[in-house]
């Protein structure tokens, strides 16, 4: 635009999301083996999908001793996220597995009582539905008439679902998925809290 000189364009108060590629981790095959023998059942937060999540039985999918190396890797990622955010150290608490097939989806939710939450995809067919985060500031924008969607005004932001990828996000950030178009989209989810 002629005649205009912006010397500073600031994006204040962003929400931190981080991704980590764990596909090459030496214990990856152990995770896949465990995924294949895990029994899941329907859960109310999911449509046409299954989960191990069960408050009464406890959620400790990642706590098996033979997965400890991989669990530690995820904890290292949580430490990295906390370091970027300058949060006090958080530790993995509960963890569970979700199985979403064709037509399945996860309803919008957040993770109350947690600080940082994560979704790791041990198995994800190409084209699996992304994780969608809802903008925490769209509610303020009642006066804005949008012409195009961009970084500053989007209602939602998608993070692609890629096999071997871990996504970390603040537990307060609402998220969901649209209907999945693949047969296999498996997630290990977890919450964290302070010591």
């Amino acid at each position: 635009m002629d005649g205009v000189h912006v010397t500073g364009q600031y994006g204040l108060f962003p929400t931190l999301v981080a991704t980590y590629n764990l596909l090459d981790h030496p214990a990856y095959s152990k995770i896949v083996t465990e995924v294949n023998k895990t029994v899941t059942s329907q859960h109310s937060i999911m449509k046409d999908s299954e989960s191990t999540y069960d408050e009464s039985a406890g959620n400790n999918w990642l706590d098996k001793s033979y997965l400890s190396d991989f669990r530690q890797q995820i904890q290292d990622c949580v430490d990295h996220y906390a370091s970027e955010y300058k949060l006090k150290q958080c530790f993995i608490k509960n963890s569970w597995m979700n199985r979403v097939g064709k037509g399945g989806s996860v309803r919008a939710h957040r993770h109350e009582g947690s600080v940082i939450s994560g979704a790791f995809y041990p198995v994800a067919d190409e084209g699996s539905c992304p994780l969608v985060f809802k903008s925490p500031i769209s509610m303020y924008r009642m006066s804005e008439i949008l012409l195009t969607e961009d970084l500053y005004n989007c209602y939602n932001q998608e993070i692609p679902c890629e096999q071997g990828q871990l996504i970390l996000f603040p537990s307060w950030l609402e998220h969901y998925t649209d209907d999945n178009k693949t047969d296999n989209r498996i997630t290990i989810s977890f919450n964290t809290f302070y010591q």
């Binding site: 912006v6 600031y10 962003p14 929400t15 931190l16 925490p136 932001q157 307060w172």
Partner: protein, 203 residues
């Protein structure tokens, strides 16, 4: 292991300096500051959202009655151009300058947190910023959601408010919904012109 940091849902704030970018003359800005400080217009009580030794006056018709624009379409054009660029960046329909007012703050005065309802984009031109002045502090709109955060140090992800430091001739443009305030100033003669902008088809 590859890792990637993604900053989602930022709130845009633009800063430009009208003097450095040769959109406005330094001497004219200085004269404007003197004029506004000596202006005998009564304070508009509706705009007194601060406390201490300060005065806020409304310019009912920016284009015809104020000293600023009578001799100075240049300033009006510069502000409208910045507003257009901001609207473009945040993907909204174009806006035009609507109402405006000026504020003179003296030592110990402050402006409480507020936002500009029924407007789209607003801004502040810093006409005179003596040493000890503050710019604008913007309030983090996501704090309300963060009941479990315990931080070691404040960062852009966690800060409760972000103070934008400014100098003479700086122009800040920001969304009208974004709450902001001025911390207590430690000098006399902090002079600003603030304005709202709205969709031209509604005016």
């Amino acid at each position: 292991m590859s890792k990637k940091i993604i900053d989602l849902f930022p709130t845009p704030v633009f800063k430009t300096n009208l003097i450095d970018t040769e959109q406005y003359d330094e001497l004219a800005l200085s004269e404007l500051a003197k004029y506004l400080m000596s202006d005998g217009a009564p304070a508009n009580p509706e705009l007194q959202i601060g406390e201490g030794d300060m005065k806020t006056c409304y310019m009912e018709d920016w284009k015809t009655t104020s000293y600023v624009i009578d001799d100075d379409d240049e300033l009006c054009d510069a502000i409208n151009a910045s507003l257009s660029q901001f609207a473009h960046a945040q993907g909204t329909e174009y806006v035009k300058l609507a109402d405006s007012w000026y504020t003179v703050m003296n030592k110990g005065s402050r402006i409480h947190r507020h936002r500009h309802e029924s407007n789209v984009i607003c801004g502040t031109l810093f006409v005179s910023m003596p040493e000890g002045s503050h710019g604008l502090a913007f309030v983090n709109p996501t704090t309300v959601a963060k009941m479990e955060d315990r931080v070691n140090t404040s960062t852009k992800y966690s800060e409760a408010a972000h103070l934008m430091e400014v100098k003479n001739g700086d122009l800040l443009i920001y969304p009208s919904w974004l709450e902001h305030f001025v911390p207590p100033v430690e000098c006399d003669g902090r002079v600003t012109i603030s304005f709202n902008a709205d969709y031209s088809r509604f005016r």
